[in-house]
């Protein structure tokens, strides 16, 4: 089973984690001011790259904390993990 390095607990089995989709998608500051097109982009449209992807994981069967990871979607290699609030690290796929 794939091991995911939780930034608090270290490497644990994938089955302990929940996936949270793309990272760094901020809630709009003034949602009521958005056009339908902008609201649709926020609600439904995400990056879907073939390659490195910044995404959220939750260690729900461990420390129960959310963190971010950069993972290569072609190989499933975890290139970096970092805590919420930290900037996305530079990675090379």
């Amino acid at each position: 089973m794939q091991l995911i390095p939780c930034p608090w607990c270290g490497p644990r089995e994938e089955a302990e984690f929940h996936y949270g989709g793309q990272a760094h998608v901020a809630y709009p500051e003034d949602p009521a001011a958005l056009t339908d097109e902008q609201w649709a982009q926020y609600v439904f449209f995400r990056e879907n790259p073939s390659g490195p992807f910044a995404e959220r994981w939750s260690h729900h069967a461990g420390c129960r904390r959310w963190f971010n990871a950069v993972r290569d979607t072609r190989t499933h290699d975890l290139l970096a993990v970092y805590r919420v609030g930290e900037p996305m690290p530079e990675v090379t796929a």
Binding site: M1, Q2, E14, A15, H18, Y19, G21, D36, E37, A40, Q41, V43, F44, F45, R46, N48, P49, S50, F53, E55, R71, T73, R74, T75, H76
Partner: protein
């Protein structure tokens, strides 16, 4: 040995050696279809057959029908909830019913029926509602109780002492399976015979536009000018659309399936269970073919995680105790492009002459003839066919979603 005791597969037809050419790409086509899977091949076939457009190339980065067309669980049905979905899936099922004659090629289409099991009171309510909706749309559907499930498929465990007891099922008798490879080969052969170029090992690396209109595709085998370009790339649709700056509301996930060794016929129908994440049929040759829910993370690697298979097998064994001694032969994954409302996106794009067919997620195989026909119409007339008109990209902005999470039957 009597004829009734033939080894599994003995009744299958002999296969010819040669079905289509392997041409060099020409410098220009009226229509370039990107993706040589079921949808791409069917689209090219109906473009040629129905609309007389034969200066067409199908570009495939690997080999024909080597992606999801080779990886699905071959289930065909049309018992979807909403009118929009009923339209296109039932259109497809009707085409399936005449497809063998239409293509002049055996596809082993077998209408053995599908049971969609209900395991909770809410499942029961949703299922009965879907049966009623199907009937109003002229689709064959009935609600069967656990005894009825047992009668249709005797190997299902309908006893009340399992973790998620079977409380009943919807049954669509006209549903079934087909031999996925033969379907692709049948379309490829017929399209080729009408003059369509099927070009393999040809990956699209760029889309060229001029004045808001598509003009050419850049490929690993050179530039190919195109009057129109039709994307049928399933899991890679986001990657292609990004080449013209178009974002799609899709997430590409691994979806896994598996087969057992060859067994005597034990499973007479198709059984799907949304709640416990498994769907099973028995292929003509004798393997049990099973599919799971998607892996949670985005992935382009055509492989998923083993715990998904474990979960699927535990559900299968609870439902079918007779499978306990079957051996797993192999597992694999395809890349499915999942949309927010579990419905496809088929139609025009903001780029003139560029057409989109994607978002079929976990259920594209059954739609192959239907979407091929409707997408070809869309391309030929630069206007959606009535059956794919509801499935626009704009619906995510207007809010006119077609929520099929219940009837899509695979956990998203």
């Amino acid at each position: 040995m009597t004829s009734s005791a033939q080894p599994p597969g003995a009744h299958l037809p002999e296969h010819p050696d040669f079905l289509w050419d392997d041409p060099e790409p020409k410098s220009s086509y009226d229509v370039v279809v990107v993706g040589g899977g079921g949808h791409g091949l069917a689209t090219a076939y109906y473009l040629a057959k129905v609309h007389g457009i034969t200066n067409v190339a199908v570009l495939e980065k690997g080999w024909l029908a080597g992606g999801n067309m080779a990886r699905n669980t071959t289930i065909i049905r049309s018992n979807y909830l909403w009118d929009e979905s009923s339209g296109i899936y039932e259109h497809s099922l009707k085409l399936w019913e005449g497809l063998e004659d239409d293509l002049g090629y055996p596809i082993l289409f077998d209408q053995r029926g599908v049971l969609n099991l209900a395991h909770s009171l809410q499942d029961v309510r949703d299922s009965v509602r879907r049966v009623n909706a199907n009937r109003l749309n002229g689709i064959d559907a009935e609600w069967v109780d656990p005894a009825g499930v047992k009668e249709i498929c005797p190997i299902v465990n309908t006893s009340p002492d399992v973790r998620y007891p079977v409380l009943g099922a919807t049954y669509q008798p006209r549903a079934g399976i087909a031999k996925h490879d033969y379907v692709a080969w049948g379309y490829a052969r017929a399209a080729h015979a009408m003059g369509v170029d099927l070009i393999q090992n040809c990956e699209v690396t760029g889309l060229e536009t001029s004045g808001g209109r598509i003009t050419a595709v850049e490929t690993s085998r050179g530039r190919i000018a195109a009057g129109k370009v039709a994307l049928c790339a399933a899991g890679h649709s986001s990657v292609l659309a990004k080449m013209v700056g178009l974002r799609l509301p899709l997430a590409s996930h691994p979806l896994q399936a598996l087969v057992s060794e060859l067994l005597e016929p034990v499973h007479p129908t198709v059984v799907m269970s949304n709640a416990v994440h498994v769907y099973v049929s028995q292929a003509h040759k004798g393997e049990l073919v099973m599919g799971a829910g998607i892996d949670s993370y985005n992935g382009y690697g055509q492989r998923g995680s083993f715990h998904i298979i474990e979960q699927q097998m535990s559900a299968a064994l609870e439902l079918f105790p007779v499978f306990a001694r079957a051996h797993l032969l192999r597992t694999w994954a395809g890349i499915v492009d999942v949309s927010p409302d579990a419905s496809p996106i088929v139609g025009l794009t903001p780029v003139g002459g560029l057409y989109l067919n994607c978002g079929w997620g976990t259920g594209g195989f059954k739609a192959t003839p239907g979407v091929g026909d409707c997408f070809a119409h869309t391309i030929a007339h630069d206007k959606p066919h009535p059956f794919n008109e509801p499935f626009t990209l704009e619906r995510f902005t207007t809010g006119a979603l077609v929520d099929e999470h219940g009837a899509a039957a695979v956990a998203h």
